[in-house]
């Protein structure tokens, strides 16, 4: 062992750089078994799990917060740091292009359409909002929705729509999500979508839809190939009358008074987005609801 008695021979042994002769001698020593065993046990050890995505998101978070801090700091020193402030603002917008949340809104009585960074199309119905992070979009296609939207999703990684009521994960392609107070509907027009809401987890294929309202889950089929609201109409399949009326308010940007007089009922049918008088007739008359409609476009539901 004498000629091996230097301070690196164990390292050479492990990397396989020891000569055959040296190795044979080393194997004869009692120390060999100890080292061999030690290495065998060590090689069976593992490091704790590493969640790459979680860490990446945390990193982005830090980059974002850092930008905000920079801005606040600069604001405090504006008089003497005017140039720095200007530079930081430019920098901030540069970064925000990548890292800030992007949001799109459709005001009452309007619809908005836009493309996501991957080319997927979104059509937002009246009184709805979508926010998402455009940086890293292609790997993390997740967006938040309040209200109703129609999606034409380009093929790619998992596409997820998060709402207060539940989550829709997309496996293929064209669908609408409508998440309103007390009402949740997902309709699949093409491909497959997975709906998760509370304990419910359901796969919808094209032509299938699901409505969750009043604590009940109602699946149904549809023959529509695009959502009716993209063609100047709103259609309903056994939807609580209250929801239908709030949709009327959103589409025409009006306030309908006297909702407390409504009796629980479900409405199936459609109304036009272009003629309020006609829309009111189709909804209220078929449901035998008494109402008044005056010159100021004020609609008031009467006791019936």
């Amino acid at each position: 062992m004498e000629h091996q008695n230097n301070d690196t021979y164990l390292a050479k042994w492990l990397s396989g750089e020891m000569s055959d002769e040296q190795l044979m001698e080393f194997k004869k020593t009692p120390a060999y078994a100890d080292y061999k065993f030690l290495i065998d046990v060590t090689d069976g050890l593992q490091t704790p799990d590493y969640d790459q995505q979680k860490n990446f998101n945390a990193t982005l978070e830090k980059i974002n917060t850092q930008q905000e801090e920079k801005i606040t700091k600069v604001r405090a020193f504006i008089p003497s740091w005017a140039y720095a402030a200007a530079a930081a603002v430019v920098l901030f917008f540069g970064y925000s292009f990548f890292f800030q949340k992007t949001s799109f809104q459709a005001q009452l009585a309007e619809q908005t359409s836009f493309n996501l960074p991957d080319g997927s199309e979104v059509l937002l119905n009246a009184g709805s909002e979508i926010t998402f992070n455009s940086f890293n979009w292609n790997n993390n296609r997740t967006l938040n929705l309040t209200g109703e939207a129609y999606f034409k999703v380009k093929k790619g990684s998992k596409f997820t729509v998060v709402t207060k009521k539940g989550t829709v994960a997309v496996l293929g392609t064209q669908f609408t999500v409508n998440s309103r107070k007390g009402f949740y509907n997902v309709t699949c027009f093409e491909g497959k979508v997975k709906v998760t809401s509370g304990k419910l987890s359901q796969l919808l294929t094209s032509g299938n839809a699901i409505t969750i309202q009043d604590n009940s889950v109602v699946p149904y089929t549809t023959t529509e190939t695009v959502p009716s609201w993209t063609t100047q109409e709103s259609s309903f399949n056994e939807v609580a009358i209250y929801q239908v009326i709030t949709e009327l308010e959103r589409q025409y940007n009006i306030t309908i008074l006297g909702k407390e007089h409504l009796k629980p009922a479900y409405f199936s049918g459609r109304f036009s987005h272009t003629n309020l008088q006609q829309a009111l007739t189709t909804v209220f008359d078929t449901m035998e609801i008494r109402y008044t409609f005056d010159a100021n476009s004020d609609v008031r539901i009467q006791k019936y």
């Binding site: 301070d7 690196t8 021979y9 164990l10 390292a11 050479k12 492990l14 990397s15 120390a31 078994a33 100890d34 080292y35 065993f37 030690l38 290495i39 065998d40 046990v41 060590t42 090689d43 069976g44 050890l45 593992q46 490091t47 704790p48 799990d49 590493y50 790459q52 860490n55 990446f56 945390a58 990193t59 830090k62 980059i63 850092q66 990548f98 940086f135 890293n136 790997n139």
Partner: protein, 172 residues
């Protein structure tokens, strides 16, 4: 070389770099401090710095830049505690050629070994685990730590000698 034209200022490249190096850097720090939360925090900080300085770091220098940052970050971390490594044990049965007595005591031995590894100097432990668990060659480790291959070999050797003496009494 097309790589030299790549810039980490591009979000796509930045993420690619993250996916390539973040895990190794995390373990690189973890082997030194034995604290996953701290290791991940410092790893994230290194990438934040990389992003902030993306225009100054040529693509082919990104790797060494990250390791230098990770090293420095660790040195700057004032409150760093003496920690015990908590390795997850793999289920694979080992050393079947050893004596039954040894196999019987394998579990206890693992605990003993973990304690012995934790008692190594930071430098020895980092080199030893990078080689054994991350399967990094001495040359790669030397580059990461910015030291010579000879120095890496010395640390490896020292680690083994120290581990053996630590577990010696356990066998008897």
């Amino acid at each position: 070389m097309p790589d030299s034209r790549k810039s980490v200022c591009e979000q796509r490249i930045f993420e690619e770099v993250f996916n390539t190096y973040s895990k190794t850097i995390r373990n690189f720090i973890y082997y030194k401090c034995g604290d996953t939360a701290q290791a991940e925090d410092l790893t994230q900080d290194a990438f934040v710095k990389l992003w902030n300085n993306c225009t100054k770091v040529p693509f082919d220098k990104v790797k060494s830049y990250l390791y230098t940052l990770a090293n420095n970050a660790f040195l700057n971390e004032v409150a760093h505690k003496k920690v015990v490594l908590k390795h997850q044990k793999s289920v694979t049965s080992i050393a079947t050629h050893e004596s039954p007595e040894f196999i019987y005591r394998e579990k206890e031995f693992k605990g003993e070994l973990e304690r012995a590894i934790a008692n190594l100097t930071e430098k020895q432990r980092q080199v030893f685990l990078l080689n054994r668990i991350e399967n990094k060659k001495y040359k790669e480790i030397a580059e990461m730590l910015n030291i010579s291959v000879k120095a890496v070999e010395k640390r490896m050797h020292g680690a083994l000698v120290s581990l053996r003496s630590e577990i010696e009494h356990f066998k008897k």
